[in-house]
């Protein structure tokens, strides 16, 4: 529950194979007044958690074992259960081509690494406020 608005806090799934980054993203999501429903380390876990938890927002690292963030994102869009959730991609790839590939896979936003915590908090707040894509 958002203390200021009284609305239910957005539910966020975090997926990154780097434990340090996973924790950093989790902290940033909490700073954005959202709830972390799960924090996982690979693509298949991310898909399974998304289908089970039906989060409002998925923060996905692009380079993950099992399935890349781009593949997970495309799979989320194809599944009616998860098609409406917002997706924020994080990646060490920072070129315009990298960003274009991410958005083409169905992401709502793309944040190149290294990112500032402030920028991540801003993106999470913005996507959480936007609500479902459907």
């Amino acid at each position: 529950m958002d203390r200021e608005t009284g609305e239910a806090a957005a539910r966020v799934l975090v997926a990154d194979d780097e434990e340090d980054i996973r924790l950093l993203v989790t902290l940033a999501v909490r700073k954005a007044a959202c709830t972390v429903v799960a924090a996982v380390a690979d693509g298949p876990q991310a898909l399974a958690a998304a289908r089970a938890e039906r989060p409002d927002l998925v923060v996905l690292d692009v380079s993950m074992p099992g399935a890349t963030g781009l593949e997970v994102c495309a799979a989320l869009r194809e599944d009616p259960v998860t098609a409406g959730c917002r997706v924020l991609l994080l990646s060490a790839g920072a070129s315009p081509d990298d960003v274009a590939r991410g958005l083409a896979a169905g992401a709502d936003a793309y944040l190149p690494k290294p990112f500032t915590v402030a920028a991540l908090v801003g993106q999470v707040r913005s996507l959480a406020a936007a609500g479902s894509r459907a």
Binding site: D20, I21, S95, P114, A118
Partner: protein, 481 residues
């Protein structure tokens, strides 16, 4: 009376077998005529008859002399023609010898090339020339190829523009030489198929070959095996990409957690702690810039560097660069000043990259200028003349350009090293002597950005007195996206 002399006339006149035959025949005819006259009894008109005969003889003599002269002239002409014929034959022999020597030289040169394939074809692609380099590269001797195989037999079919069907040999060859036909020559990578089934990446220069009359006689294909070089380039790209990822990820953690600690309002840091963590952050940012520069250089080398064009106010770019350098310059005791209009000139370009180029120049100027020195940023409009020179006065036919210069009163660059300044990882001796930090990528990147915007980057420097870099950008051109 005419019957007396008539029989002698044809033999003497019509067949002058030699230069002596005519006078002899004439003398015989004359003597015969006189003998006939003297042997006869006196007639009523003997004098008239003698005069008539004599006239005929004289006329005959005149004609014979003319024909003799003509015959002599013909003989002279014959001799002249014979002489000329001999001379022409001699010249022909010399020319033939020279042609043979030239052909021999060409053959020996082509045969001496063992590291490049030189393949010549007729206009339809049938192989006519196959040098030892081609034998070595493709694994087939000349005798197995010349006049029996087409050049397209050694090309990967999927590269000949015929993805759905292999096409006819003529179609494949047309596809192969299309670029050279359109542009006069064509150099690009092709995949060669060797006799033992290997695929080679070969840089092939294709050019038309003409005969002595200027007519196209066929095509030349000069190839250099780039298989290992291209593989090394791919490995380098993969390495840079991997390093970039592997460095960016830990830097994300370092910078992210630093930010959390430094911005924690519930547990504020002491001034000393803030100073230490500030040093950590500054160095993490330095590493991040280095990673970015390495990645960018790799993109430039691989030709994958793209611009995001928009209208860019260069006055804003210059002021932002001054602002970025201000703190560092002040700490070093270097004064930085800007001479620029309030706004403009405006160029069509990538704001981020132009800012990066300007930042690099100003950052370098500050780094290479000792305390008490001066760095000056100047921005003005100029005109590029047709010969490439640039002035500040408008000239007919001149091209409007923006001139962005960064001058310093620093250590300068030795004149012998200025030509290498834009080479990756090159560091001037003055930089090494003065222990100025850096890896030698900044100017390479600045030059690449300038070139991508259709501009030029020039340097003038005097060791011990200072350096000026001038970035010239066209104001009427749209850079490639």
């Amino acid at each position: 009376m005419s019957a007396v002399v008539a029989p002698a006339q044809p033999a003497a006149v019509q067949r002058p077998t030699s230069s002596h035959a005519l006078p002899i025949a004439l003398a015989v005819a004359t003597v015969a005529g006189l003998a006939v006259l003297l042997s006869r009894p006196p007639a009523p008109v003997p004098v008239l008859a003698a005069v008539t005969v004599l006239g005929a003889v004289l006329e005959l003599t005149r004609r014979l002399r003319g024909q003799l002269a003509a015959a002599q002239e013909l003989e002279a002409q014959r001799l002249e023609l014979v002489s000329r014929g001999r001379s022409t034959a001699d010249e022909l022999e010399v020319a033939t010898r020279m042609m043979r020597a030239r052909a021999q030289t060409m053959t020996s040169v082509i045969d001496a090339v063992t590291e490049q394939s030189i393949i010549g074809t007729d206009p339809d692609g049938l192989i006519r020339v196959w040098n030892p380099g081609a034998e070595r590269m493709l694994g087939l001797p000349r005798a197995d190829v010349v006049r029996s195989r087409s050049i397209t037999d050694f090309h990967a079919p999927e590269e000949l523009g015929l993805e759905e069907s292999p096409g006819t040999p003529a179609e494949r060859f047309t596809s192969l030489v299309q670029g050279a036909r359109e542009h006069g020559s064509d150099v690009r990578d092709w995949t060669y198929l060797t006799a033992d089934g290997r695929r080679l990446t070969v840089s092939v220069a294709i050019t038309p070959r003409t005969d002595d009359d200027g007519e196209q006689a066929g095509w030349n294909f000069v190839g250099t095996d780039m298989t290992e070089a291209r593989a090394a380039e791919r490995l380098k790209d993969q390495f840079v990409s991997l390093i970039s990822h592997e460095l960016r990820t830990p830097l994300s953690s370092i910078l992210g957690y630093l930010e959390l600690v430094m911005d924690d309002e519930e547990q504020p840091l002491t001034a000393e702690q803030r100073q230490y963590l500030g040093t950590v952050e500054r160095n993490a940012q330095r590493l991040l810039r280095l990673v970015g520069d390495l990645l960018f250089t790799a993109q430039v080398d691989a030709g994958r560097f793209t611009l995001q064009p928009e209208d860019v106010d260069l006055a804003g770019v210059v002021r932002a660069a001054e602002e970025t350098a201000r703190v560092t310059a002040a700490a070093r005791g270097v004064a930085v000043s800007v001479e620029a209009p309030a706004t403009g000139p405006v160029v069509r370009g990538d704001a981020l990259r132009l800012g990066q180029a300007c930042d690099n120049l100003v950052s370098n100027a500050v780094k290479f200028t000792p305390g008490g020195g001066q760095v000056t940023l100047r921005l003005r409009q100029g005109w590029q003349h047709e010969d490439g020179t640039v002035g500040e006065q408008e000239v007919p036919g001149g091209r409007p350009v923006a001139l962005l210069s960064v001058s310093d009163t620093g250590v300068g660059i030795p004149s012998g090293e200025q030509g290498q300044l834009f080479t990756s990882f090159f560091r001037a001796s003055t930089a090494r002597r003065n222990a100025v930090p850096g890896v030698g990528l900044g100017l390479t990147i600045t030059k690449a950005i300038t070139t991508a915007h259709g501009g030029t980057l020039d340097v003038s420097s005097v060791e011990g007195r200072g350096t000026t870099f001038t970035l010239t950008l066209p104001l009427d051109g749209v850079p490639a996206a």
